[in-house]
Amino acid sequence: MSQLALMIDLERCFGCKSCEAACKQEHRLGPGQYRNKVVWLGNASTGAPDFLTLTCQHCERPACLRACPVHPKAITKDPDTGVVEVHESLCTGCGECVMACPYSAMGYDAQGHHSVKCDLCPERREKELEPACAEICPGYAISFGERDNLLEKAEAEGRHLRDHDHFLLKPQTIYLEKIERENGRVNGAENSSLYEEPRRPRFVDSPAANGVFEEKGPDFPYLHDKKTLQADRVVPGGCNFCFNCCTAKFHFQGDKLINVTGNDEDPVLNGKICPKAQFTLQMHHNEHRLQYPLKRVGRRGDNEFERITWEQALDEIAAKLEVLREKWGTEALAMFVGTRTGLITQKGYARLFSQMWGTPNIQGTDPFCAAGKVVAYEVTHGTNGNGNSYTPEDIGSAGMYLYIGDNQAETRPVYFGKVNDWRIRNKTRMVVVDPRYTATASKADKWLAIRPGTDMALGLAMAHHILSENLHDLHFCDEWVLGWERWRDFIIAKGYSPDWAEAITGIPADEIRALSEDVARADGCVIFGSRGLNQHTNSVQTNRAMMFVAAITGNWGRKGGAYVNMTAGPPIAANAPENRRAKIEKPMARRSPAGWLSAMREGKPYPIKGLITCNNPLAQWPGQDDAREAFKALDLVVHIELFANETSAYADYVLPAAGGIEKGELGRTNDDRRVVWIDKMIDPPGEAKPDGWIWIELGRRLGFGDVMKEEYKDPGKFWDEMCIDNDFLRGVTQKRLHSVPYRWVRFPVASEDAPEQETLYLEGTTATGQLEGKRFPTPSGRLEFWTEALEEKFSKVGLSALPEFYSEKENLLQLPYLEYEHGDDDLEVISPFSKVPTGSRAARIVQPDEKNLGDALRRQGFETTLITGRPPAPHFHSWTHYFWQAQEMWPDLYCQIHPEKAGELGIEDGEKVRVETAHGAIEAMAWVNAGIREDSVFVPIGWGERQPYHPWRSVNFLTDITQRDPASDQTNLKSLLCRISRA
């Protein structure tokens, strides 16, 4: 056999660290022990992030081996395979090999006192499996095989190898250089010397950050003898963490979960998963899990509880709910049920409970994440979500990828791995528009650093240029876009040209023109948008502007062309019989829970006095000072969650929930309509219960047992009988879900034997549930950009169906912004965009010469734009902060700040800074990095002050409850003025 090796493609790696998680899982490594590590580096001048997967080079002249003082050597090089291995039974732990390796690829187990290193997974090789890292890499960046074959493959693809043999050790691990971009540059640098002046985030590897793991080792199965942990059964299921909705395989020894891997039988995701899916292992074996019902004994917020039984907890909660209903009415109970709970809970059990109880105030996380795009899709296209799929024939066949405000590499890494792979294979152009040089941007041909909150201007200017130059798809516009001429005339009359947009967006007009032409001329362009577009007060209009660009270029209802703004949930809607539903007298107070605070604090428009909440609103809701004050005003707070968090501290009752394979549920919503089923495979810890069990038991105590039946505690039965009775889901039965080894079915499928559809809305097709010939599920069967009905709807909230530009009121520029004509304390406006009667606010667009709030703030020193958003791939909201390895990878809350700005403020990389807005202040660690606009800083979401490893105050102390899109109630979380100083 010739030399075995890994081949690591620097063009494909986007730093998700899934390989690191796989390695630790495979080899049961604990904190601080590494066989591989993904190092985040940044080009000092351009800020372009680069990622180096550092692992053993299996050198022909291994310096580590020669340095080993033991005889026979504790390190050997296999003469057949060339693999360099440590024999731990011979290693005395002197550390000479650790120093000797110039690639720093020799790990060391500080607890067990011996060297550890990559041995290319010999146990897996014996089973003809690839090393764990190669198998799982979502980026297809790690290949394994005989070195000669790998070299042939690289040559066939025309790839250049990185020569990193400084020391003539003849390293055998192959690194493929990044591919040159425009003008021979790679990410703006003049050559590919990406590690010449590397800048790694100082706070990431700080000893203080890693010190938190010293006191206690990780929970099972890490640091356990892997030889004794052999799986005796493997069950397919899915990851329930994020919106990539990856399929996974769960490996058990008896009833103990010992491994989580990708599902190699999945034809779409191909067995790739990100670190989060692997951290499922750390969720199910976790000392921080809530295990027993708790009742508050101290003051609200003091976090003092006593353990009680489920009987007591549910009886008391039911009794208090009855008092609440008696005193304040049914609408005084609000329910916050996010996607953490699982879609079956959110749109099934909890929805049934709300109908039986009679409250309109039930909501999930949508108004903080995606409500704007949901409304935009619904008014334009008739239903939420695109109709495309991540297949080579569909999204994989695009002629161009344009990401606007979507950092897919870090938010849906497995999908991005596919797109990036297609980009490389097909030589597809990729452009990223984002204020930050994100991991996604690092793979693009061009990064356009747009000013936060001005994407709408970019969309309008692109449309202006495309229409002015007659680059639009006239056939598609005439046939399938209603009101496009009206938009065209409006945009041109308003002068929303690239020149106009340049000053607003900060993107040169020529770049906007070039981008527009690229999109128009590409044979299919997939425009990805996400929270960067959604989390603004102009969310709906921005999304519509981008949708318009996609539509007029014919990138709608075709393969390889789409507007993809993240996920679209399956239309689950469990309904109680009409005659058993409580009558709901009042509209929902507001679509966004941020708009409930007035009802909680002041009882306006009507009192909300009780809240049953899941997730972690006291880190997640905007305006944390206001939110906490509101929680204190409530008569009853019940918190259902897996981990004690900030919200638990304010609860009267904390109910321990089961998650994922502990209860049986659906994966979250995802980009391409896959409904992923996760079976119940293990029991939850302690006395924790599935959310469905909790809602049914509570319902039974309130007399809802005839509808919320005991038998529905079985989620499979509940799914089949209550959740799928519509043309979209009728075929997604348990039987069909279990008939495929990857446990997903792509909706719509109207019957169990109906075929899945790769791409919806193709010309000549009829949309599901529509009359024959209706291609799109709108009233007209066409995409609707302007109709009289739409104009009437928008006018109710003070806007127009025509896209007049406005941005945020807290702005560094004098731009139009919204002024609200209502607070959250009345029901004068009922939203025309909600499916149930919902209170809303009308607004008007204020021109900058009229007044300018940004000016006043800037005079107070708030001269930087704060952007909030998702941290890198290992994290997702609060959960992952309870997993040691996610915390090891990205420990502290950070504030990404440009070196110029940091220099002005005297801030150094890795030091603590104070970030302050007009709404509050927090502290974070500075990450001085040029990959962000000079006038902006970025602070991620997810951290909270009661988390076990690295507690920090949530970034939502900086955000504002009032800045919301009047059409969707979406909160602005992406553009607030702030000031930064050394803490």
Binding site: V39, R66, V98, Y103, S104, M106, H164
Partner: protein
């Protein structure tokens, strides 16, 4: 995977127990007969002998580790830790707390060796662990000058190796005790080339001074201790008169020179 080595906690208990024994001994030493106050007295002499024997286990460890004779180097390493600690206790008791004369330097060396060993195991291990993935510069563009230097060095090594161990592969070769005993000159020359190579590799320069040199210091000090111990044994055994300074010779000896 956990191995059967001495964990940090056990090591801490061991050292703590040793310290407790010594503190207790010296706290109650005045209660004991005179023999327990005189360094090397017939009673304390036995402690010295026993301690020396235990300390010699470390020498055996060094030999077994480098020759492969005697079984598991890890087992011998653990034995070295335990016996060195116990040996240190016995030797300290052997001193009777008599710290004003030269042999006390051996106690100081012993104390330093124990502290250094424990510190390296408990504290420096974390630095060793943190070394992983710390040299991303090694993946940056090449320095042709360094590569040329390395090429010349490898040529020299190969040339020397053909005489030192014909047929050996330079890439995986490092000198062993056998080479030091049979071809000391060549081995020394080869070791110097290895030293130059390590310098080019940045072996010690890329880590903290403590991490780079603790082991070297530990070894050098251990050698110094052994030499000192031998000196002490020789002087008290053969030069008892000189050691007593004309006073009472109460310990076992062969000559009174």
């Amino acid at each position: 995977m956990r191995r059967l080595d001495i964990g940090d906690r056990l090591l801490a208990y061991l050292v703590f127990a040793a310290a407790v024994v010594l503190v207790t001994f010296f706290a109650f030493q005045h209660e004991l007969p005179r023999d327990w106050h005189l360094p090397g007295s017939p009673t304390l002499y036995l402690f010295g002998v026993a301690g020396t024997i235990l300390l010699c286990v470390s020498v055996v460890f060094v030999i077994t580790k480098r020759t492969g004779i005697g079984g598991s180097p890890l087992g011998w390493f653990s034995a070295h830790v335990v016996t060195a600690t116990l040996g240190a206790v016995l030797v300290t008791v052997h001193s009777g707390g008599f710290l004003r004369y030269a042999p006390a330097l051996l106690l100081v060396a012993l104390l330093f060796l124990v502290i250094l060993g424990v510190w390296a195991r408990v504290c420096l291990s974390k630095d060793m662990s943190a070394t992983f993935a710390s040299r991303e510069q090694s993946f940056s563009p090449l320095s042709s000058e360094k590569r040329e230097q390395m090429a010349r060095l490898i040529e020299e090594k190969e040339s020397l190796l053909s005489r030192l161990e014909p047929g050996a592969n330079e890439g995986v070769f490092s000198p062993r005790i056998k080479h030091w005993l049979t071809r000391p000159g060549l081995t020394l020359a080869y070791a110097r080339l290895v030293g130059r190579e390590n310098k080019l590799l940045g072996m010690r320069a890329s880590v903290s001074t403590a991490q780079a040199y603790w082991r070297l210091v530990h070894i050098v000090l251990a050698f110094a201790f052994i030499l000192g111990m031998l000196g002490h044994i020789i002087t008290v055994t053969f030069f008892a008169g000189y050691v007593s300074g004309g006073g009472e010779i109460y310990w076992w000896h062969l000559t009174k020179w």
